[in-house]
Symmetry: C2
Subunit: 423 residues, 2 copies
């Protein structure tokens, strides 16, 4: 398929032009119509499960032949359960309130005009992702619900799976009477398509890369379009000396061990000096049971002699695995200093019963999620009630933290008058 | 002064590092302290009016000697009335509510955690502006109130004026006990400082250029930092055939003639065919009184034979002067099509008594301000109740339309638990 397209620039220019035209239709599409299209897409995926799995098998066989590792092949696979959850995901998005057209802050001004704001789509959203084909359906559904046209570029190893999902999306859009160009999946694995996609501000309003840090950094560096990006997740839990020890134990164990490979997993535990001797041995035993390797500061190793010495680079490492660095700090000030020097700005949590320290931590820690007495693992669109997330942003501009429907929108001012003029 | 700095890169790196450090203090500064500093700055400007005017005179004399044109010299001048309004501007910002720390949408989730959002500063804001020295005080005050550190780069022709205002700001900050690095005015006119400023994402979180389109385009093209920008203001008024003729007359005259050089001034008038013969002759007479030159489409010239023929480029021109292009359209659909092809996305207004057409215009026109029965001249931070604006954004990302304190903020998620863990 990819070889069919000779002139990538012309192909992408045309695709961008069509996305822009479709975005105008979508922006004005009523909620009911968008939901009808989403339901038609879900039904079509359901009706074509067999084809989906056949096309996925082509990708899996090609991947195995190319020698892809088992983790990658696992991410690539569309099992019946994964198809179920892809369809459920769309149905959950149908159930979410439509953010578009919401009018808020509508107030009279002394001049007599009434000024408010209306939520509107961003326009055209470009998604660049790696091996998981379910992103094709998730991302298309979120963008469609929020009135945006979408240009999707999945990983080359998932090409046939993505095209099969795209075909269901096309049929669903047509059935509802929405333009097929509302969701376009790039029909080539040529890398030049990505280069074109991220440098077309006239056609694409925002790029959301989903994948490893390398992909995201490359895209951010070269993009001429705003990028909603998520880099590292170096998350901290600080156990204050006024923590409830039982809560501290539960949270510190959960934040590290509930899942290792996720960006909201704790990578560094900070423990106040005054409670360290009480809490660290019990915690270390629990981590040992889970097979978590500990790397501690000098003071930590006085309490836990079997713990390996942490190096400077440990404080800046996202392990994404069963390793935890531990630092004993004097108290809240030093904990905040450590976080402000080493955190990636993703998620941090304090465990304390002290009201003023909880308030200070919430105010002074500058991360996309800041928690009191809760596990960092909660930093997630579903847990926050966004319904679904298109990504997590570690930026401060436009969208921050888990990005759901609202992150795919903008606002405009509306002014209602009765012939008012400015004097 | 500018020749004192030999190594611009080292100077800017140090300035950026100090801004970043100061931003941490400012982010946690209580409202009262920020207001105290703002009042101290206003008082210091008041106490040093004479020095301000002396320093401004140096700039004016140098400008005259360099042959700057009278419009530029006028913008540069600090008259007693302009100093008054600079001081009043700061006092108005003191009176605005502090956006920082506001917590909203705090709700319990089924898991038992309470999730909300807290408004926080962006961090460090860089402002690049041209000849008006009052921007130094306005921008610094808005950034300070919103908890941001500021790096200001004014035009070289206002160098001494800006440094004098900067000195007042420094004394005010010190008097309140806030770090002087919270507001830094670049002490060189070397252009390399701008190049450094827009490529320091580690030190500066957002750049706001204020000035002509050329300046803004140059900065946007080269920036490695998000830019809140405002390009053209090609604003439209559409007079529907169900308009109240009196309102249509008032609005069409006001939107063009109240001021010519502003970005929210109407540049193109669209008139529905069915009302054109009734309304255009009266309007043309009013424009003639104001000395506004008209350029019309063929149908317009049938009604107004003295009107000059509009060329294709007229529909895409921001005149910023007493010229107006007029097009007779079939009705609402053609008006929206014209706007979507030619508008710069700033401000558009419909004049109509028809409920459904007003609703369609509000929904389908994709501009930062969309109005019904009101003059485009209302598109302004003061008129909208933002108190003051740091600029107007024609982008859809992050901030759109007049940008006040809220546009200088971000949000973070906060999670309150009682030992909650994820299962």
């Amino acid at each position: 398929m990819s070889s069919d397209i000779k002139d990538i620039t012309a192909y992408m220019t045309d695709l961008g032009r069509r996305a822009r035209a479709a975005s105008r239709h979508l922006a004005a599409a009523p909620t009911g119509l968008k939901n009808t299209a989403l339901q038609a897409i879900a039904d079509d995926l359901q009706a074509n499960r067999e084809t989906l799995m056949q096309e996925n098998r082509r990708d899996l066989e090609a991947g195995a032949a190319k020698g892809l590792d088992s983790a990658l092949l696992d991410r690539l696979e569309l099992t019946p359960a994964r198809i179920d959850s892809m369809i459920e995901g769309i149905e959950q998005i149908i159930a979410l309130p439509d953010p578009i057209g919401e009018i808020f802050d509508l107030n009279y001004r002394p001049s007599g005009i009434q000024v408010g704001r209306m939520r509107v789509p961003l326009g055209v959203v470009g998604i660049i992702y790696e091996s998981r084909p379910n992103v094709t359906a998730d991302a298309a559904a979120l963008c469609l619900k929020s009135g945006n046209a979408t240009v999707l570029r999945g990983g080359s190893e998932a090409f046939h799976s993505n095209q099969a999902i795209a075909a269901s999306i096309q049929r669903g859009l047509q059935q509802a009477g929405l333009p097929g160009d509302a969701v376009q999946v790039i029909a080539t694995t040529d890398r030049a398509a990505v280069g074109a996609m991220i440098t077309m501000p006239e056609a694409i309003d925002v790029i959301i890369p989903r994948g490893g840090k390398g992909l995201i950094e490359r895209i951010s560096n070269d993009a001429r379009v705003p990028v909603i990006k998520h880099l590292d997740g170096i998350c901290h839990v600080y156990i204050d000396d006024q923590a409830d020890p039982a809560k501290a134990f539960d949270i510190a164990v959960n934040a590290k061990t509930q899942r290792y490979g996720t960006c909201n997993t704790m990578e560094t535990l900070l423990v106040a000096e005054a409670i360290a001797e009480q809490i660290l041995p019990t915690l270390a035993a629990a981590y040992a049971e889970h097979g978590v390797e500990l790397r501690g500061c000098a003071r930590c190793r006085e309490i836990l002699p079997d713990c390996r010495q942490a190096t400077d680079s440990d404080w800046d490492t996202e392990y994404l695995g069963p390793i935890l660095s531990i630092r004993v700090v004097e108290g809240l000030d030093q904990a905040i200093d450590h976080i402000s020097s080493h955190s990636s700005g993703h998620t941090e949590s304090i465990v304390t019963e002290n009201y003023s320290r909880a308030r200070r931590f919430l105010t002074e820690v500058d991360s996309s999620s800041v928690m009191v007495n809760a596990s960092t693992r909660f930093a997630d669109g579903f847990e926050y009630g966004l319904g679904a997330e298109i990504g997590i942003s570690t930026d401060k501009f436009h969208a921050r933290g888990p990005v759901g429907l609202e992150g795919l929108t903008s606002v405009k001012y509306i002014v209602l008058g009765d012939g008012h003029i400015r004097t």
